[in-house]
Amino acid sequence: MKKNEARIKASEITPRELFYARRRFMQLAAGASAAALLPESVLAGDKLADVKTSAYTLPDKLTPMEDVTRYNNFYEFGTDKEDPAKNAGRLKTRPWTVTVEGEVNKPKVFDIDELLKLAPLEERIYRLRCVEAWSMVVPWVGFSLAELIKRVEPTGNARFVEFISLHDPEQMPGQKFSVLEWPYREGLRMDEAMHPLTLLAVGLYGEVLPNQNGAPVRVVIPWKYGFKSAKSIVRILFAEKQPVSSWTQSAPGEYGFYANVNPAVDHPRWSQAKERRIGEFLKRKTLPFNGYADQVAHLYTGMDLIKNF
């Protein structure tokens, strides 16, 4: 108890710095030799170099890094929100490759470090709205997924993109349980994937993406519920047919393919009209398309968004 209290008090002074100083120290101690072999900074907690600011900012207050990194839905590491922070240490993010294939003229296996240099990294502050009616404001680092898509030249048949996450129960202990069908799969329509807001993220708060947030590479689609934003991606597949997402497969009546944030369409078991912003007491009203309606509503003109939930 005493030990705990002392730790809490210390972290109150400079929570982030202290947390990361300690973590970096442990990483250095544990993996000094491994780290020496690596060409560049790739460990969670390391600063990413040359990150530009971008036009994608928000007036909203940022959710503190401690909260963004310890309250996660990432069932590969357990179903409690504290589980990913506890269990994600086993994930090895190097070496890592992302295979991009399917309906493309130039299929390619990208090494993660090559991917990091594909386009200039920029910081983008996005709202994140979970389907469970809570939300955060997160400064991601990455670039538009469109940058990657352009380079592999999708064919005329490519109408959808599927993201496939790592499947390795040794590194992802939650996969020893069949809560969802592994590997985790998510998908977007081509125009959604090409939309400039759709981010290929490799960092958070200016640093290499922590494992529990989807390291080493994930997508972030800010106008959709969080589960659409696949994490720890190893394969990106272009296809003519609409892919079936893991959550849709597990409960088709509750989690649709589109999953656009929509206060007017409730989850069958709870309301989506409001959300609790992490760190705030009173709930806020949820905005259509999570506040990105001006940018994305046109993608869905003429569509019945109640049917296509």
């Binding site: 929100k81 469970e132 078991r269 009209a273 609790r276």
Partner: protein, 213 residues
């Protein structure tokens, strides 16, 4: 003195110990709140912890009678009322957390929840049913009602417990391990009662002599 026949002062001691233990989850929450160690979403943590202990105390209360019969520890009955009241206590905290911290008296939203959210539709009456049980838990109320009527009324606790499990089952997103565990335990506790009942009936029909028990 054996475990079957504890003397009164010893039972009083056990009762005090159980009372303090039963407060532990609340104290832990209180400390967690004070030192800001309830995680990123403290309101959710409080709702879940109080809900969890409501159901846990209901099941502990329901296990008193079967355990007492199986082991012959008659003194256990002296803990039952207190444990039942702790279930109601945590249930009240759970409901108040929802009312004040989660919804902040947003009555239209609360009514909508009760009508439209199946897990609240079930949770709400499960809590309401506990109120008359708590009110009639005093010695005076027991004698005023008479044992038979009192026992009949207190069978409502089965509905609360079943409702609590269904409530839990319906609110989890995907991982039903916990609610399924509670369902299994409740099933065992209710099953034992059915077996005792069935045996009772057989006893009546066959007459006491033929029953070896």
């Amino acid at each position: 003195m054996t475990l079957k026949t504890l003397d009164a002062s010893f039972v009083e001691g056990i009762k005090t110990g159980v009372f303090l233990l039963a407060l532990a989850p609340l104290i832990k929450l209180g400390i967690g709140f004070y030192i800001d160690a309830l995680g990123a979403n403290p309101i959710e943590k409080i709702t879940r912890t109080t809900g969890y202990w409501t159901l846990t105390f209901l099941l502990i209360t329901l296990s008193i009678t079967p355990v007492r019969r199986l082991l012959g520890w008659n003194w256990l009955i002296r803990l039952r009322r207190m444990l039942g009241l702790f279930a109601f206590f945590y249930g009240s905290l759970h409901f108040l957390t929802y009312l004040v911290l989660d919804q902040f008296f947003d009555w239209p939203a609360i009514v909508k929840d009760i009508v439209k959210r199946p897990y609240i539709t079930v949770g709400f009456p499960s809590f309401i049913l506990m109120i008359p049980l708590a009110i009639t838990s005093t010695d005076r109320m027991i004698s005023r009602l008479g044992g038979k009527r009192w026992r009949w009324l207190h069978r409502l606790v089965y509905l609360s417990a079943v409702g609590g499990v269904v409530h839990y089952w319906w609110l989890v997103k995907k991982d039903i391990t916990n609610p399924a565990t509670f369902a299994l335990l409740l099933g065992i506790l209710l099953g034992i009662r059915l077996i005792y009942r069935a045996r009772g009936l057989i006893k009546v029909r066959l007459g006491p002599k033929t029953v070896s028990s």
